[in-house]
């Protein structure tokens, strides 16, 4: 099964951490990074992502130009054949519990991961969505 990752994040260190965790725990897979949600949405809408059985989106919320929650709303309007191959994990430092609670109930949101994104948290996310873990010391 082919897996691709999309990181939507504008903070360098967080992009680095997410990329390293994917490389270390999932293995060599396609990773696309976007610093704005609209660019990521465009990429998904135009089906530019390399063919894969499953696409996993790691989505930050507080992004410039378009907030992560707007991304989710617009994503939900995409046709099913696109949406069906995607799963979203929100990775955020937001302390707005109400907003996070509401977002966790959205159909394509698999998990809310509170930053910091650590090996342990990423592992439990991968386990939840049944992605085999290639390697970890966590």
């Amino acid at each position: 099964m082919k897996i691709g990752f999309i990181i939507v994040e504008n903070i360098d260190i967080d992009i680095y951490i997410a990329t390293e965790l994917i490389k270390r725990m999932v293995g060599e897979v396609d990773i696309e990074t976007f610093v704005t949600a609209d660019a990521a949405l465009n990429y998904i809408t135009l089906e530019k992502a390399p063919a894969a059985d499953r696409h996993i989106i790691l989505l930050d919320l507080m992004l410039p130009r378009m907030h992560g929650s707007n991304f989710i709303s617009l994503f939900e309007e995409l046709p099913d054949h696109i949406k069906d191959s995607y799963q979203i994990a929100i990775v955020t430092s937001s302390m707005n519990k109400g907003e996070l609670e509401r977002l966790s109930k959205r159909p394509n949101v698999e998990m809310i991961i509170e930053k910091p994104l650590t090996r342990r948290k990423f592992k439990s996310f991968l386990e939840k969505i049944n992605i085999p873990i290639a390697y970890t010391k966590a």
């Binding site: 903070i11 260190i13 967080d14 951490i17 410039p64 430092s93 302390m95 707005n96 994104l117």
Partner: protein, 361 residues
């Protein structure tokens, strides 16, 4: 006092009206009404009426009833009843219900009226001040909300980044990988530090009183060169300051330095990455008691659509550089305090020019 206090007097006896006006017209601006309808007409036209006198005994409507009627429509003017002893029960209950501020016995003497107007006016001013303070408080709350929102992103963000980096760093053994990670952790710490110092600027510029003194812009320029010279030369940014100050200039030096520091830091931060002719130019000229400061850079520029909002709190024009969104807000706030003005012009990809004018105090 530059303007006379506006007073409205309502009485159905025209003799009383004329007498009242004759007695007080030199000291106050007197408006007269024979009945409630006329009074309301005056109130609607004159939002600045401060004190209303009304006779209790009028055909159709008592003074107390009139005040009760206008209270919600015109809450600000101070309501004073003029009445004889016979109506004392009605007066007491009106005072207790908050419908009138005080009452004056009939027949009134000038001194009573004058003192009632003066006291009423004081109360009016205190009330208006309270309203202004309430609005300021509301504004402060709104800002606090914004701040709470930004805390999670700007204060917590860099920290969670560092924590995540430490976590993944634990399983790294390649020294180069670790160094790369350390570099990024350092950036996060700088970002946090930057945020905290601009928060500090923000609150000290909000709270602090201005300390006006003579400013020598040549000395200010020397200091800017000391602070930013090494950084700009190692990063191949030409950094020139030109001062033309033939006359003395008075303002708050700390505030002006804060403004310049913010703008220079921005000019450095938003330079184009791979560009050979990087430069920052500062021109300061003082003429006719006005300092004009022009700061131009060869940076990434700001789209015109963002010109307005870059001065708002927590607004960020760009995505790929990390700013706190406080810097320019502080700059604008500080300039307002100094009675100055800031303008921006910019071409995306070519650079930005900030033009400041500050009057001498």
């Amino acid at each position: 006092m530059s303007e006379k206090i506006k007073v409205l007097y309502i009485d159905d006896e025209t003799d009383n009206l004329t007498g009242f006006k004759a007695a007080f017209r030199t000291e106050y601006r007197i408006l007269l009404a024979e009945n409630a309808a006329q009074a309301i007409e005056h109130l609607a036209k004159n939002a600045d009426i401060r004190v209303i006198f009304c006779d209790q005994r009028m055909p159709g409507k008592t003074g107390v009833e009139f005040f009760e009627q206008i209270r919600t429509m015109f809450p600000l003017p101070i309501r004073i009843l003029i009445t004889g002893y016979a109506d004392i029960e009605a007066v007491i209950s009106a005072i207790n219900r908050g419908n009138i501020f005080r009452y004056i016995r009939k027949p009134w003497i000038e001194q009573d009226i004058t003192s009632a107007i003066e006291e009423g006016n004081k109360f009016y001013i205190a009330n208006s001040m309270l309203q202004v303070k309430n609005q300021e408080l509301q504004l402060a709350y709104t800002e606090l909300d914004k701040f709470a929102y930004s805390v999670s992103h700007d204060l917590r963000g860099p920290l969670t980044g560092i924590l995540g980096a430490i976590d993944i760093g634990r399983e790294m053994s390649d020294i180069n990988e670790i160094k790369e990670l350390l570099g990024m952790m350092e950036k996060s710490v700088f970002k946090l530090e930057d945020y905290i110092s601009s928060m500090h600027d923000y609150y000290s510029s909000r709270r602090g009183e201005l300390k006006i003194a003579d400013i020598d812009f040549n000395a200010v320029a020397e200091e800017l060169k000391d602070v930013y010279g090494i950084y700009t030369s190692t990063n191949k940014i030409r950094f020139d300051i030109h001062i033309d100050q033939p006359e003395p200039f008075r303002s708050d030096e700390i505030v002006i330095r804060m403004i310049l520091n913010n703008l220079v830091t921005n000019a450095i931060k938003y330079q184009k990455k791979h560009f050979n002719g990087k430069s920052i130019d500062i021109n300061i000229s003082v003429h006719d008691a006005i300092a004009t400061i022009v700061i131009s850079d060869t940076g990434i520029g700001i789209p015109e659509s963002h010109f307005e909002e870059i001065f708002n709190l927590f607004s960020r024009a760009t995505s790929h550089k990390a700013g706190s969104g406080i810097g320019l807000y502080n700059v604008k706030g500080a300039l307002i305090k100094l009675g100055g003005h800031i303008g921006v012009s910019s071409v995306v990809g070519e650079g930005t020019v900030f033009t400041l004018t500050i009057p001498s105090k």
